[in-house]
Symmetry: C2
Subunit: 334 residues, 2 copies
DNA sequence: CCGTCACGGGAAAGCGCTCCCTCGTGCGGT
DNA sequence: ACCGCACGAGGGAGCGCTTTCCCGTGACGG
């Protein structure tokens, strides 16, 4: 008796269900999509058949037929950075309530890759969340021109009609400056983040405003990693600053470690501030004065904003979320 | 003159390209897929048309026609945990070289959600990477039965035919024990991680083996977060242990902070070890003795393993990746 | 010079779903 | 008793690709 090879068990389709439930494909589809015009008994039969067969609708077929995939693309520069993984986490949870899934791509900060990935995401997704602080404006414009719902996080590009949700970096750093000025500091060093990134530009902008507080700022090239902060130790000690504003908490913690090694007391000899408030900030010794950014809020706001964009509401204003200065023990009087 | 409303600019399809390039749809498809049997001149014309029209093939249509989506599903318990975000990052980069994209879902450690998400991923993906340390065995079995390439990370389930890549947690903790024993410690406290998780079980298993080193272990319930470690301070001080083995680096750092507050010297009064080596471990004071796990290696191994599974190689053995003890200043003689 | 092939290229059949349109039925109104 | 209507249910045309099958052409050998 010849028996078909159990090669690759054919996928169970909606037609199989229809047959099993003795209903039409249309009806099964209705049941699947919760359209109420189906006789309860029939619907129940269909549900049973679905259960029995272990049927799951093919996402590809649904996507093709519906004209949308139920997928949102997210592009981040570095998923290993808690700032972004947190964002993705909350964003993903938020849009999930909308019935959407998230396709994440990590550009590794490489602009060329970024372009390519964004282009790829467009093919898959119904909407895009872009965290691309350094993507060339032209690429951004090209993406906008594609016409699909697009939202950028933490970036503003005047003149480009794109929606965004941002952290109020400017206000945050201003608060830091105010705090330091109040403590009597006059000369401060700023450990700069990645050159050209929006976040760094915003900080610099705030810093230039800080002269109003009587602060004299020395900008030192640094980076965004703990290692960068650690490496910046000597440079910092080479200045006559009495306080250091680190690009973020990682940098601050790295520097803190180097300072401890060098026997420099914080805040006795030097005050130090971070930014972004990572969990560990309050567990360092001394606990770090930093700026708490509403990470979850950002993810949620992004999710909601994109939802509205995808629903066709195009008249939406960009949101800027407030931050909060967290004064702890790493800052003291000059 | 009646003009069609520029409603929602119809998608550009392969047919448009064919028309523009004066070729057949088949040919355009061939060019797209790099099938060599096309006259170079024609191919060039097609490429030009594609460029001109800004055509991008619809992922849904391709997926439906090809019978596979080019997407791999990844389920993690917590994307905010660097352990998993790192894994996803590397994994995603690895499979990208295979032409696959990654759909990430975060179960938030909720078993019910986990089931649902896994079920959902199946509809979208050609393969699955599961990080589900506590998913009920039955759910796992159900997933295996679905027949699609499935790989689990950091978990082994004897009797279930599933492939896995793991970190050698057992060996890692054994190394920690050996190190402490060598320093003369006899009584140690273990700050336990999430109950029921594979990683915690493995540690406990190693710990029971540690009696061979003459170690007497007190297990204290704790958790996996910095806060948990901080909170465990009093409990730790309530024991007569001379060394503490923390579930992971976060816990260790949290405890370290609490100990510093309490004026307990590390390693003078108490030795302390972490696990997983996060970046900050070497920047704490004192720098943390911990176990370095090959996070990137894990992601890469997972990517490669899943690639092979998806290519049909079913005869694959599970891999266990070696770890490395990093001795730093948080451990000293008893 | 014609038969044979190899090969470039086109037509068309799906892939598994959604959704519009149509059809049949049973009901109420006049 | 008849017409119309509402509503439940089925038929079938796509959605945008891939891929098989087949045809036409030109090169080559006998």
């Amino acid at each position: 008796m010849a028996m078909a090879k159990p090669s690759r068990a054919r996928r169970i389709t909606i037609a199989d269900v229809a047959r099993a439930a003795d209903a039409s494909v249309s009806t099964v589809s209705r049941v699947l999509n919760g359209i109420g015009t189906v006789d309860p008994a029939l619907a129940e039969r269909v549900r049973l058949a679905i259960e029995e067969l272990g049927y799951r609708p093919s996402a590809a077929a649904q996507g093709l037929a519906r004209g949308r995939s139920g997928t949102i693309g997210v592009l981040v520069p570095d998923l290993a950075n808690p700032h972004f993984s947190d964002l993705v986490k909350v964003f993903s949870a938020t849009v999930r309530d909308l019935g959407a899934r998230v396709l994440v791509m990590d550009s590794d900060e490489d602009p060329a890759v970024e372009r390519e990935l964004a282009e790829d995401l467009v093919r898959y997704a119904d909407g895009l969340l872009l965290c691309a602080p350094r993507m060339p404006r032209a690429d951004l414009a090209a993406l906008v021109a594609r016409g699909l719902p697009l939202l950028v996080a933490n970036r503003q590009e005047p003149g480009l009609a794109l929606h965004s949700v941002c952290i109020d970096v400017h206000a945050g750093l201003l608060a830091v400056c105010g705090h330091l000025a109040q403590l009597g500091h006059r000369k401060v060093a700023y450990l700069a983040g990645p050159e050209g990134s929006w976040a760094n530009r915003e900080r610099l902008r705030a810093l230039s405003g800080a002269q109003a507080f009587g602060l004299e700022v020395t900008v030192l090239a640094c980076g965004s990693l703990t290692d960068d902060g650690y490496a910046a130790g000597p440079a910092v000690l080479g200045t006559d600053a009495t306080a250091v504003i680190a690009y973020n908490d990682f940098v601050a913690l790295g520097l803190l470690s180097r300072l401890a090694e060098a026997g420099v007391s914080v805040p006795g000899d030097l005050s130090l501030t971070g930014f972004d408030e990572i969990d560990l900030a309050r567990y360092s010794s001394p606990p770090l004065t930093t700026v708490a950014v509403p990470r979850s809020e950002l993810g949620r706001a992004a999710g909601e904003a994109l939802a509205r964009l995808m629903a066709g509401e195009d008249d939406m204003e960009s949101r800027t979320l407030p931050v909060e200065l967290r004064v702890r023990e790493s800052t003291g009087t000059a």
